[in-house]
Symmetry: C3
Subunit: 362 residues, 3 copies
């Protein structure tokens, strides 16, 4: 695969590219991710490789010797976790992934600390981080900012990799990866993701995880997608256009309970009221009939899994937690493993992990 280099395209030209054309700019010559910015940059074989690597890391991590091996892989590197938009879950997950790989992390996650950098442009701040660290994990409320910084750094002496850990309403690619990994693990003994039915529920208009996962699922043959939400929160047309283009079967509907028995995976989401454009906008929508309650456990298949990107509010009753089909806690932990796999791959240490696995755990 020929690498397309970010420093060989003008920013204005780059911006106009559709997502699928941008992907190759974020890859290394051998197809490994260089930057991780959008879900659209991941091909099916890369997804499979990441899932396999995550599982191997998870198994290696069970022994002290294995953990010591993992921690030796990137002990010579430093990562900056730039969480100017706070998110404890994503932050801690990345932080733990860095710790597993021995990658030394520093952080900005306090709004007060970052406001101190006021008077300096955001671009200069990120360039500062690039001076001291070998990778930036970036979460920001600004749509497209991670892409812009990846382009900008590519034109400096220190074009270090960037991972987008959530930017604005549009992209959260590592969340999509952990969702895929959770589906892959859950359906490992039932033929994999292909042919399964996935049901998205809740705030589908503004949930970036839904957008990304819906797209990645088009890489798997014969997956049927249901979008179940009140009209105000229903998925946007651009997501459906994407499915049409990929000739995927999907259904847009409102009757939560009717669809339940069809699903192999139920992907619950919370109301993203932080994106409300006017005060109380979300509260006017009655979402209560889209809650997964204890009694719904009787309406789903014995091997259906229930997912949620978390945090949850009332979308899933706490009583559901103890059911073996409740997959959201394990899903969260999967995030740590797939992020570990991703970072190891970016730095080209995947082969070494594979070799260790073959030698010690096969």
């Amino acid at each position: 695969m020929r690498r397309q280099r970010l420093d060989q395209i003008l920013w204005d030209d780059f911006q106009k590219l559709p997502l699928l054309k941008k992907g190759p700019f974020f890859q290394q010559g051998d197809g490994r991710p260089y930057h991780v910015l959008i879900a659209q940059q991941f091909e099916r074989d890369r997804l499979e490789q990441l899932c396999q690597l995550a599982t191997r890391i998870r198994r290696i991590a069970k022994s002290k010797q294995g953990m010591e091996f993992l921690a030796s892989l990137l002990c010579h590197k430093r990562a900056m976790l730039d969480f100017s938009q706070p998110s404890s879950r994503t932050f801690l997950s990345f932080y733990a992934a860095c710790q597993i790989l021995g990658l030394k992390a520093a952080e900005v996650r306090d709004p007060a600390t970052s406001s101190e950098m006021k008077g300096e442009s955001r671009e200069d701040s990120v360039r500062t981080f690039s001076s001291y660290f070998d990778m930036i994990v970036m979460r920001t409320p600004l749509q497209g900012f991670a892409e812009k910084m990846a382009w900008l750094l590519s034109n400096t002496e220190r074009p270090i990799p960037i991972i987008n850990a959530g930017s604005g309403k549009d992209q959260h690619p590592t969340q999509a990866l952990l969702d895929i990994y959770t589906l892959q693990r859950s359906f490992e003994k039932t033929g994999g993701i292909e042919g399964k039915t996935v049901m998205f529920v809740g705030d589908l208009a503004r949930g970036r995880t839904v957008r990304s996962l819906s797209y990645l699922l088009t890489k798997y043959a014969n997956v049927t997608q249901y979008f179940v939400a009140p009209a105000e929160l229903q998925v946007h047309q651009d997501v459906l256009d994407q499915l049409d283009a990929a000739r995927v079967t999907y259904h847009v509907c409102q009757d939560f309970e009717a669809v339940l028995p069809e699903a192999d995976a139920i992907y619950m989401t919370r109301i993203q009221d932080e994106w409300d454009t006017e005060e109380g906008q979300s509260k006017r929508v009655d979402i209560s009939q889209y809650y997964f309650k204890a009694e719904h456990l009787n309406r789903i298949k014995f091997n259906t899994i229930i997912m949620h990107p978390l945090p949850r509010r009332q979308e899933i009753a706490v009583a559901v937690d103890h059911d073996p089909r409740a997959m959201y806690w394990r899903q969260m932990r999967n995030g740590m493993w797939i992020r570990t796999a991703l970072i190891a791959t970016m730095f080209g240490r995947d082969d070494e992990i594979g070799a260790y696995y073959q030698l010690n755990l096969k």
Copy 2:
């Protein structure tokens, strides 16, 4: 010792148990602490073992080789320091203890960061931490919360250990351990803690360290306890009941200067005005006659020690700091050593430390 397991008792039943009955639920099968939640879970022989281990760690830590050995013990583990109630002193002490053992730590100690997790229940937040880490050190203003989370996690797939680093007004067990360690070190050459006279001074009504230490001292024969405070801040009856039950000699009094010459250890405390139930409540109490001033150094024995859990305000004059009997700074550093010993013991690395000590330092 038969282990009583937290996942084999209902929460409602567990809550009704007296403290002494709860202790066994926090132990491992071999009597090592699993969770560390209340001072009452520590028996005399465990206290002795922890003190001995702390001293050995302290000596091992004097050489680079020793520090490298210690840092290898838990380099495969990760700890979450969840300080939603900030406390720099306790936080840094635990953080340093983790660093000594190679235990990789992550933290939440910024109220702004934790408020971001709003909308999520505290229980879900702690469960999140348990997904990524191997131990949680938890400081919270909520009485009983650490216990509740220990019970809750025991009923999940990741029942990781919890250390209570201060919860509400009731418990701060590792503070009690460092106090015991300080007494044990100070009285090492004068027959140990047994038979000594300990004088508690200041806000005895609300100081959780006093409650815990007073209890642990009942494990040592013939210790006399004095409680010296103005009436409004005098120790509560439940502490005295505990002493009556253990047939311990104690005195409740108000005359600070009269008791000074009797004490082998003087435990000063500050006014805990953060627990005031109405504005200015503490300010109405005149505590100035309970201050330890430079001239009081002439009224105490040549080998009496002066302790304070810190931070201090005016309870102890700065001029006292240089007197060799001022033990509070060393007491604070003891906290780092005893916490290191405690964590090493929880993870079963105490024997390895003992073996290293015998081989290299005996």
Copy 3:
């Protein structure tokens, strides 16, 4: 060199000493820095040694093996980064330096966390840090505070070293070191710093980096200094007195564009409006004619370097960044290397680095 010890002088006497007399109190017996508190403590040969060591560290750090060697040097030590006055840039630079040397760092940089320590004196807080850590890097808005704490700790059982990472308006010695290192690297092939012309521009009244660098440049023969600023922000007389005493040639002037062609190094600074003594004080000064714009690139020599301590506002146009003479980004990264060299030297590991370098990279 005979060591003068901080614990052998009274605080009142120490305070009265001129800066140059204070320096020796901050050195070890062999001339290595013990504390790093003021730019005036550095002699020419120490500057040369630090620059050489920084360059060696930088080269060693290019390989994984080299990074592992560096990280083994101080893996048995712990550092406290006490940034009660926030500064992301200086903080991250020191943090990265600690990571490079394997030095385990803890931090206070959140005003909310430190305000929690209220009720405790700042002196007691620093003494707390000294109990758990082996070095304190301290940034504070209080002039002279780092010196005071160095003196105070010298009179305790744990007289650990302190690095001043910026105190009030007066001192920021490690910034001066990185400026010297940047000049030394930039002029390596053109005869070194001696004989060069350095032009300071901007807020010279309140920029502590200018004060320190101006002083250190007196250690290099025949350096000419220009101070170019509006009258209100012009350098203070004490800096000029210092230059007079050292018989250094300097010019105080206002015409930015006229001086540009003379300079070998142009040191731009921003308006330090955080030190305004009244609302809007800085805004009344028109600084726009002291901005370095893209067109100025044509007015400077082909090998002149442009420096800036950062953060910048409008003092330097972003268009200038791509010119090879723009040295400010590399200057910032130099800060990480010189701080690494400094810490290694303080702990006496410079010789070991030199030996590794001779063996592996010469």
